[in-house]
């Protein structure tokens, strides 16, 4: 099938198998390996990207379902040139260890802060509750998101 979509602001057209998962399209066709695959069952969220303005789990979505739409991956955070405050926050607060869940976590965090610039800790925990981190116990991820919120409120 012919597929045309915009990824991080750039339009791509490819012929793909109808069954190709969006994550494999991003990683294997476009070489955007910042999006990770972790579980197959929509539980871990390592594969989270934005479809239009909404985080989705790209391991349980066909690439062709993104036809005509726009996708943002971690490579597009902060416009690609500068670091998004969320990215800064993760580094600042030791919000990552192995780095495998980090892209998905950051994309969800960015989505949260766009809608709720001043979230409570409970709201941050709720927002990332569909994603799994095996390294941090989530504590520093929560702090990282709150750090980013605080930075943006000062800006």
């Amino acid at each position: 099938m012919r597929l045309t979509l915009t990824v991080n602001g750039t339009e791509h057209t490819r012929d793909v198998e109808p069954r190709l998962l969006l994550i494999h399209f991003l990683r294997d066709e476009l070489g955007l390996t910042g999006t990770h695959w972790g579980c197959d069952t929509s539980n871990c969220g390592a594969c989270v990207v934005w479809l239009d303005q909404t985080p989705v789990k790209s391991c349980t979505m066909l690439a062709v379902m993104a036809d005509g739409r726009s996708v943002m991956t971690v490579e597009g955070l902060g416009g690609g040139a500068r670091l998004d405050p969320v990215q800064e926050g993760f580094a600042e607060c030791h919000g990552l260890q192995c780095g495998f869940c980090t892209p998905g976590m950051m994309l969800t965090a960015r989505w949260l802060l766009d809608r709720n610039p001043d979230p409570s800790e409970a709201e941050v925990r709720e927002a990332i509750s569909g994603q799994i981190c095996r390294c941090t116990g989530y504590e520093n991820i929560v702090r990282a998101v709150l750090w980013a919120a605080a930075k943006e409120s000062r800006a």
């Binding site: 198998e17 069954r19 190709l20 494999h24 990683r27 294997d28 070489g31 955007l32 390996t33 910042g34 999006t35 990770h36 695959w37 972790g38 579980c39 197959d40 069952t41 539980n43 871990c44 390592a46 991956t73 971690v74 490579e75 955070l77 670091l83 990215q87 800064e88 993760f90 580094a91 600042e92 030791h94 990552l96 260890q97 192995c98 780095g99 495998f100 869940c101 980090t102 892209p103 950051m106 800790e121 941050v124 925990r125 709720e126 990332i128 509750s129 569909g130 994603q131 799994i132 981190c133 095996r134 390294c135 941090t136 116990g137 989530y138 504590e139 520093n140 991820i141 929560v142």
Partner: protein, 784 residues
């Protein structure tokens, strides 16, 4: 005095927050093919035939490997790290659900999966051995009939301590309590599954591997032995690793299949397992069926411990631990208490379950040991009517008893246990919590307060006691100092998220008076790093870190001689002060490493016998393990109507000796506390009576999320290790080892009004509810 230690941001983060890490599945080589494994759907069956004809006819399939193909190369079986053998691809029988049967190599990953369905396997079903408690019964099916003369499922018997003295202590004791406890089978489940890219070059004879391994050097040696390829022709790169926790210590059949696949096809072959494969076939953890007893005087003096353990190792004995310790370091089960005698016996058994056994941040079975002794201590407190904190405080080893040799032979290096427990109680507001608990109970609120005090032995290990398949457990470090004073440290350890690139730079910077930014750390590439046994068992800082220190100190010693030549003074007149070699009595006169490095590379005349440059290497053989310890308090709220447990607070005081980077240390503790919550409340690899794995995905194998993990409250004490060159002890596994007992003790404490004395993990709502009803069940099997 400046210090390079402290809360430095991580060097690793710059790439990870940009999505620019390089994990194994990110590696793409020209012409690369993709492998997929056909796995057994049943737990125990004789293989009648394997027919891959249709798969080979698939237009995108390049090759199919079966057990027969590997047998022709002598590779159908491989040695395990525990001196057993494990089938790479099954030839005779399948022995667990998910066992490897055939390997398809195709042009893309989807085609490889498609072709798996074209392979026909005919099975002759056999009765499975699933229940550990009946695996040794007469007439039980024999899992390992491949082993000559094998007529049962017995692997080993192992004991520690002194049976007679323990029995004497028990015979004279006022109080004995104990019981059966299951530490259920768990799985480390790193978020990145295991995988490899194998690239064999038939012309050069060189094999290059990008592999999810925590121990690249040990794997290279093992693969050389297994494949017959010369070791110097093998390179293993373990690039960024998405978590390990022990899961990436073993060599897995998929690795060998990819290697053979590359040899057969002449092209690179990638194999990355999916989540079900990871959970169903790779190294599990725990699965200890324990019976423990504790003996004490009526006034609360703990006197002795006894334990009998049935250790379920699955279908192949593939534990990864020092060879002489088939039960790992379980015999540190005397814990943190001053007692007179202890004895434990462990029997290892085969079952029709996935092989492995020791992995998952357990410091070689110390997590099982801590769980046993800490549950028993709480049971004893209940029996004596004593507060569990008071009972612990009364029995903890005292600072003046160190170095302390425990009844099973470990020599604990240093500790101040009462201080750690007192600090944890202070952070928790322990007395106030107990008051709140008593008040709540009058209102039908069931709050639990659970304590755990643990001692670990990490940093394996002393070469006279410890090896893995004959490889001594030392680690090397190479330190190069460039003319401009910038340094490159190459280490044998491997980071899977622990932040070695940062902490090891801090170690060297501290020794040489450099900025951490001026030290680059190279790891995870056997061509670029010295030999060493890798990262597991919390051994990076205790062993590899010590090697880095020793290399840096060699550089510093040589720099002294060069500085003496530069400053035209005797080396004896120089002292290392605040990051420079300075003239005694005239500290303004001196030289730092950067100036000295330039001089060492220059035409400066050096004293006789002194080579130029500053580079140095070191190998560190630890004289003893290091012994981190800690005191944890978990506060839970239990709803008796639903059995739901909510972890309200988790207080953790850790003493890991000197802390190089306290932020990274805290991060390690955060992770381990989440592990404790997961293991105590949710995580379990469970089987039905046919040996079907019922936890083959994250839908069934529940891991804690941000909703189950509270904000931890951490405290620290610092008791340096007297034998480690910088006094560090290691922190990687402390919280995973110490925390499950605190959670379980907390839940059982909450349920005290219901008369519940013990319930096995995982304390799911159903299991808690059954315990309240007085009908606890075997938690390890879904038996009808």
């Amino acid at each position: 005095m400046t210090t390079a230690y402290g809360p430095l941001g991580r060097k690793e983060d710059a790439r990870f927050v940009r999505g620019q890490g390089t994990f194994v599945d990110d590696v793409r080589l020209p012409g690369m093919l993709h492998g997929a494994i056909l796995r057994s759907p049943v737990a125990h069956a004789r293989i009648v035939s394997v027919d891959a004809t249709a798969a080979l006819a698939h237009p995108k399939v390049e090759a199919v490997l079966t057990g027969a193909d590997l047998a022709e190369r002598g590779l159908a079986w491989m040695p395990t790290l525990a001196a057993d053998v494990q089938a790479v691809l099954a030839t005779d029988k399948v022995r667990f659900q998910g066992q490897e049967i055939a390997f398809v190599i195709a042009r893309d990953r989807y085609a490889a999966r498609d072709a798996l369905e074209l392979i026909t396997v005919e099975y002759e079903p056999l009765p499975p051995v699933v229940d550990a408690l009946t695996a040794l019964a007469p007439g039980a099916p024999v899992v390992r009939d491949d082993l000559p003369g094998r007529a049962d499922n017995h692997i080993f018997d192992w004991t520690a301590g002194d049976r007679a003295s323990a029995d004497a202590v028990f015979a004279a004791a006022d109080v004995i309590v104990g019981g059966d406890m299951i530490y259920p089978r768990s799985h480390p489940a790193p978020l990145e599954t295991c995988g490899i890219v194998a690239d064999f070059n038939a012309v050069s004879g060189r094999l290059e591997l990008w592999s999810t391994t925590q121990a690249p050097h040990a794997h290279r040696t093992l693969l050389a032995i297994v494949t017959g390829l010369p070791e110097h022709k093998i390179r293993i790169v373990s690039p960024d690793i998405g978590g390990g926790f022990g899961n990436k210590a073993p060599v897995y059949p998929g690795y060998l299949c990819a290697i053979v696949g590359s040899m057969v096809t002449g092209r690179p072959v990638k194999w990355v397992e999916d989540r079900s494969e990871n959970l169903m076939s790779t190294c599990f953890a725990r699965d200890y069926h324990m019976h423990g007893e504790i003996a004490a005087s009526r006034d609360g003096k703990i006197l002795g411990l006894r334990a009998r353990v049935l250790a379920d190792h699955g279908a192949f004995n593939a534990t990864a631990q020092p060879t002489k310790f088939p039960a790992g370091f379980f015999h540190i089960f005397t814990g943190s208490y001053d007692l007179q005698a202890a004895f434990c016996e462990v029997t290892g058994i085969y079952t029709n379950k996935a092989p492995g056994g020791v992995a998952y941040s357990c410091s070689f079975r110390i997590t099982e040991a801590v769980y046993l002794v800490e549950r028993l201590t709480d049971m004893l407190a209940r029996e004596l009517g004593m507060d569990p904190a008071e009972l612990r405080m009364r029995n903890l080893l005292r600072p003046e008893q160190f170095p302390y040799t425990c009844p099973t032979g470990w020599e604990y290096d240093s500790g101040d246990y009462p201080r750690a427990l007192a600090l944890a109680m202070e952070i928790a507001g322990y007395d106030e919590l107990r008051r709140e608990q008593a008040d709540g109970r009058t209102r039908g609120e069931y709050m639990g307060i659970g304590l755990s005090f643990f001692t670990e032995g990490v940093g394996a290990g002393p070469r006279e006691h410890m090896d893995i398949l004959g490889l001594g457990m030392a680690d090397g470090a190479d330190l190069r100092v460039h003319p401009t004073g910038k340094a490159v440290l190459s280490i044998s350890a491997q980071t899977q998220g622990q932040g070695h690139e940062t902490t090891f730079a801090q170690i060297v910077a501290q020794e040489l008076g450099l900025a951490p930014d001026d030290v680059e750390v190279v790891h995870g590439d056997t061509d670029r790093t010295p030999f060493g046994l890798g990262t597991y068992g919390s051994r990076s800082t205790p062993v590899s870190g010590a090697a880095a220190v020793m290399a840096a100190r060699k550089v510093r010693d040589r720099a002294r001689l060069v500085a003496a030549a530069m400053l035209e003074v005797s080396a004896d007149d120089l002292e290392w002060l605040d990051g420079k070699w300075r003239v005694r009595g005239d500290p303004e006169q001196g030289a730092g490493i950067a100036e000295i490095a330039m001089a060492a590379h220059s035409s400066l005349a050096l004293p006789d016998g002194i080579e130029g440059h500053l580079d140095a290497s070191a190998v560190y053989n630890p004289p003893n393990l290091t012994f981190p310890f800690g005191a944890y308090i978990c506060v839970t709220d239990v709803d008796p109507a639903t059995g739901v447990v909510k972890v309200r607070r988790f207080i953790a005081v850790d003493d890991c000796g000197v802390r190089i980077n306290p932020v990274i240390v805290a991060g390690q503790v955060h992770r381990g506390l989440a592990d404790g919550i997961g293991m105590a409340l949710m995580q379990q690899i469970v089987f039905d009576e046919l040996g079907n794995c019922l936890a083959g995905s994250f839908m069934d194998y529940l891991l804690p999320t941000s909703m189950e993990c509270p904000s931890p409250e951490l405290g620290a004490t610092v008791t340096p290790s007297p034998h480690h060159p910088i006094g560090a002890k290691g922190i990687g596994e402390s919280a995973t080892v110490g925390s499950p007992a605190a959670v379980v003790n907390s839940v059982i404490d909450a349920l005290a009004p219901f008369g519940v004395v013990h319930a096995d993990m995982p304390l799911t709502p159903a299991n808690v509810w059954r315990a309240i009803q007085g009908r606890p069940v075997r938690s390890d099997l879904a038996l009808s």
